[in-house]
Amino acid sequence: MLELLDLGSPRDRNAIDLATSRNRRIPNARRSERAPEALAAAMQFVTESHPSARLRSLTGTYNCIGMAFANRRTCIEPHHVQMILEDDAYTEVTPAGVVPGDLLVYRDRIGAISHVAIVTAHKPDLANARWRTTVISQWGYDGEYFHDHADVNQSLGRPDRFYSERKQRHA
């Protein structure tokens, strides 16, 4: 019964039709836009606390998962990400195999999915023996930013694993 009444359920007028490749419904809900002064304050907070993050778009109508899986149209709770990854045949990619367009999943301290981002650049940083990965993601509901994959607010968790839905990966 709780799911029937839940925000984003099929009975929620604010939800849009959205399904995985296996036709399982993805619960979602659209959020009203925040006032310009609220968004400006949000941008100021993010850019002051993370100076290297570069704003792409300032809106609060979708979250990171809506950005990655619903073309920026709606909000999807993080606990639905696993279903989407399974149904849409995402597979894990090792850091060496990552290409722009792949997905980076973040997890919180108890291991739950807390954030997702799309890779925009992935290059070896030979001097520091690491990969230098730039991603794009919606920070909560506070705007969409290009940023280093590890440079996010603690509320969004820590980068965990890369995934891709690419087909014929070895072709």
């Binding site: 399982r24 006032a35 609220a38 909560g140 506070d142």
Partner: protein, 224 residues
């Protein structure tokens, strides 16, 4: 900082910006709970009835404030925080406040906190289980549940009721066929225990039992 100053800060853009950096409701909830301003105000509300009353009055005022309808309610995060704090002090009073907040337009987090309080619906104690009934209002977005009736059942009655409901369902299904639950509305399985409860033997046993019940229930073909 005085309670009044705390509330002014909680109602400001900076607080909203900080707590909106959460991809989902659980993270938002944790973000609020760990925010120093929230903790300070919630502590004062517990210790000083006058502060609790001040916050409730303010919550009621905010829920009635006119807003620019093309935008989200500017007091969304503040109302969510006040409701959560009120729920920590007195859940029954918080349920009344949640009813007021559920009528505030264009809310996001506050709506979810309010629905959560309304849905808590089943208040369990050592003596009984209180069921609170409400009606889904689909004319509002996001949808809200308006509560109207509460009923308390002893645990003996709960056990008997489960038996009789199962019997009624079995009779119905034998007459009209199995009721198929769409996959999209299957309740999720019980989640992991929060770290602070991992060493609590009662919590662990309860979670284990919940998982067993879910496994039995979800494994039935009609639940797939």
């Amino acid at each position: 900082m005085s309670p009044r100053e705390m509330m002014e800060t909680i109602e400001g853009h900076q607080f909203a910006a900080e707590v909106n950096l959460a991809a989902g409701f659980d993270a938002f909830h944790r973000s609020i709970q760990s925010h120093s301003l929230f903790r300070d105000l919630a502590g004062l509300m517990k210790d000083h009835p006058a502060v609790f009353k001040t916050v409730l009055v303010r919550l009621n005022d905010l829920s009635r404030k006119p807003i620019r309808m093309q935008y989200e309610n500017p007091y969304d995060s503040a109302m969510a925080a006040y409701l959560m704090a009120a729920d920590g002090v007195d859940p029954e009073v918080a349920a009344v406040a949640a009813e007021a907040v559920s009528k505030a337009p264009n809310c996001w987090w506050a709506s979810q906190v309010s629905s959560g309080i309304a849905r808590a619906a089943s208040e369990a104690s050592a003596w009984d289980l209180k069921l609170i009934f409400g009606q889904l209002d689909q004319a509002r977005t996001p949808n809200v549940v308006t509560q109207h009736t509460a009923m308390a059942l002893s645990w003996l009655q709960v056990k008997l009721l489960i038996y009789y409901l199962q019997l009624d369902l079995a009779v119905y299904e034998s007459q009209y066929g199995k009721i198929v639950i769409p996959a999209a509305i299957l309740p999720p399985p019980p989640g992991p225990l929060p770290p602070e409860m991992e060493n609590d033997p009662v919590a662990r046993a309860s979670t284990e039992r919940a998982r067993e019940i879910y496994a039995l229930w979800a494994a039935r073909p009609e639940g797939a």
